[in-house]
Every structure is written in structure tokens, then in C-alpha cells.
Symmetry: C2
């Protein structure tokens, strides 16, 4: 057992999670082999099973390590937010965009954006568990701020907000390809203002008249 609670040295466990995080983001979870991960972490192949039990356990640890602080920060900012849709949006978007900007945590931004699309059942369960409180607290705040909208409409729109954020942090590079460099903002650097403006207007839109189909 490690006597010191705060390890100062590298730490095989953390090195493995760092290497896995970056390789998951680069190649996808399935395509990132334990051999590539342990090589990047300068660790032994068997270390994964010693510390995490299995590859699935490593995946779980990689997501849990960052999702808990990320969503805690969101809830903290929501508490401090005022009564405007923009401030609530900022509280939801900024922690994820900050991760995406950070060179070190940037890999997890791309990984998280991709995670919602993962076919893997357990990853989906992890996300649903970790995001459940955030989803309920933020939609509740929006219901209070937008009393003229039916609750179902709020749920749809928050779903859109999350999707736009995920697409931005995971595929921010695509906009540069499509725009032939006319949008030279690297990744999610300048995306925050664009996102807030766009999404706040969408959230404030009057309820749609549901057309017969």
C-alpha cells in the first residue's frame, strides 16, 4: 500500500490513464490497443490488468477521472449564474470548452464529444450516470428562465445544446477543412462566443407550431 496519499513521482496508474486518454482520442477506444497504451505510458503490458482489471476498467477510469470534476464545475458555475440564459449556457459550455482548449486535457475533449456516439453499452451507462444530475439541474434552471416554453421543448433544446457542444469539441477541425481556411480559429479556441450567441437564440425561440405530418 502506498503510505503517502499524494504520490509525487510519475505513477504508473496515472501514466496509463494519460496514455489511454490520448490514444482513445486519436484512434478511438477499440482501435487503441493495450500494447500501444502501455508503450506510450512506458509501462508493462500487464500493468493495465493489475491496476484496472481489464481494458474496460481502464476505459471506465479514464472517463470517471475527468467527468466528475467537469460536471461538478458545471454545477458550481450554475449555482453562481445569474438569471440570464447566457449565463446558464456559459456554466454548461465553459468547463468543457476549457478542457478542449487545454493542450493536456484537450484529448479528453475530443474523446468526450465522441463518447455520446459510442455503441458500447457500458460507456453509455457511464455517461448517463455522470450527466444525469447535470441534465436535470440545467433543464430545471432553463424551465424557470423560459416559462413560456413547454417542458418537453426545453428538453429537446437542451439536447440540441449538448449535441452542438459535443460536435464542436470533437469535430472542430472539420470547419477548417470545409471553409478552406476562412475560419482559421484553431479547434475550439474562439468557439465559445459563437456557441453562446447561437444557442441562446435557439433556446429563446418561441415554441414551434407542431405541423401535421
Amino acid at each position: 500500500m502506498n503510505k503517502t496519499m499524494e504520490p509525487v513521482e510519475a505513477g504508473t496508474r496515472e501514466s496509463l490513464m494519460d496514455a489511454a486518454e490520448s490514444l482513445f482520442a486519436e484512434r478511438g477506444i477499440q482501435a487503441a490497443s493495450l500494447r500501444a497504451i502501455t508503450e506510450r505510458a512506458a509501462a508493462n503490458l500487464a500493468a493495465v490488468h493489475y491496476h484496472f482489471g481489464s481494458k474496460q476498467g481502464l476505459v471506465r477510469a479514464v472517463f470517471s477521472r475527468r467527468l466528475a470534476p467537469l460536471n461538478a464545475e458545471r454545477l458550481r458555475l450554475l449555482e453562481a449564474a445569474g438569471e440570464s440564459v447566457e449565463e446558464v449556457l456559459q456554466a454548461f459550455l465553459e468547463p468543457a470548452l476549457a478542457m478542449s482548449r487545454d493542450a493536456f486535457h484537450g484529448a479528453f475533449g475530443r474523446l468526450l464529444g465522441r463518447a455520446f456516439m459510442e455503441p458500447d453499452d457500458e460507456i453509455r451507462e457511464i455517461l448517463i450516470e455522470q450527466f444525469s444530475e447535470v441534465f436535470h439541474r440545467f433543464t430545471a434552471a432553463l424551465v424557470r428562465l423560459l416559462p413560456e416554453l413547454p417542458e418537453a421543448e426545453i428538453l429537446w433544446r437542451f439536447h440540441f445544446v449538448a449535441g452542438t457542444l459535443g460536435h464542436t469539441v470533437a469535430c472542430g477541425h472539420l470547419i477548417e477543412r470545409f471553409s478552406d481556411g476562412r475560419c482559421s480559429m484553431g479547434g475550439a479556441e474562439g468557439a465559445a462566443d459563437h456557441l453562446v450567441t447561437f444557442l441562446a437564440a435557439g433556446l429563446r425561440a418561441p415554441a414551434p407550431i407542431s405541423r401535421p405530418r
Copy 2:
């Protein structure tokens, strides 16, 4: 060589693409093995390499088969669209949502939404090639309809539109999980009106004042 240009029977080639499409959507491209695909298609394992050369060739064929008609329909609807942001949006969204609603083509909807996040280089190149004209034509139409916005802002917002659509067709099931069934609209069934309202308001928002960071 097949003498009749229109085969009436099943057709191994098409069966393989159908099976691959559904399995790619269910498990992801990497996780869908050729053995599972050929089994579902009731074909031999070697048939993939005979008809497509490799698994990568099958992936290419699966995407190209649907993307070309999808984007052609989008351009056709854009030609017929009037001068409102809503009609341009409809032209972009509806063909994809129709695919997502269709029980048979529904699998490709989920697959396409996930495709933008794929780490695979060639898939990204296929998407960029297939979407390049759609992207330019639709952004050009929006630039004309929203002259008060800088072009870079339009590009960002169309990027958001595409992301929201992709997230909706690929992760429409998530909203049911998070909302505890309060949004009972199955998949992308009733999403069209919500999407158009939300996105049109976002597109029409005044340009953001870029804050110093």
C-alpha cells in the same frame, strides 16, 4: 457479367452492403467483423473481398451508396427553396431526417451521425468530398439570406447546424433516457419541427461581440 442491368433477386453485393450498414450502425465500423456481416447477409466470408476488395472498400461503398442521393436531394430542395432561413434549413435537414425515420435506411442515419466523429482518415476524406458541394452551396445561400452577418459567422453556425443534426439522428435515444420518458417521441420522429425552430433562431441571432480573452 450480369446481362440484365436491373437485378431482381437479392444480389450478394447489395445484401452485403445492407448487412454492413446495419452492423456498422449497431456496433461501430471497427467492431463489426466481416464474419458477422457475411453471416447476416447469408453470404460467404470471401465474398467481401471478391466484390469490394477489402473491408475498407466495403465501408467506402456503404457510405457512397447513400451519401450521393442524400446530398443530391438536399441540393434539389435547396434549388426549390424560397427566401426564408427555415426553407433552407428544411432542405438541409429533411433528407437526413427522412432517412432516420425510415425503418430500412434508419441504420444509415445513425451511422452517418457517428461518421463525423470517426478517427479513420479515409472515412473523413469520403465525408469531406461528399459534403463539400453541399457545404458551399448552403453556406452561400445563408450568406445571401443573412447579409448582416460576417461570412465567418455563417460558417460557424452552419457547422453548429450540422452538428445538431448529426447528434439528433445518432443519439436521439439519449433524450428519452435523460428525460425519464417525458420526451416519448421515438428517435427523430418529431424532431424536425423542434430542430428547425431552434436552428433558425440560432442562425438569425445578431453577430456576437467578440470579447477579449
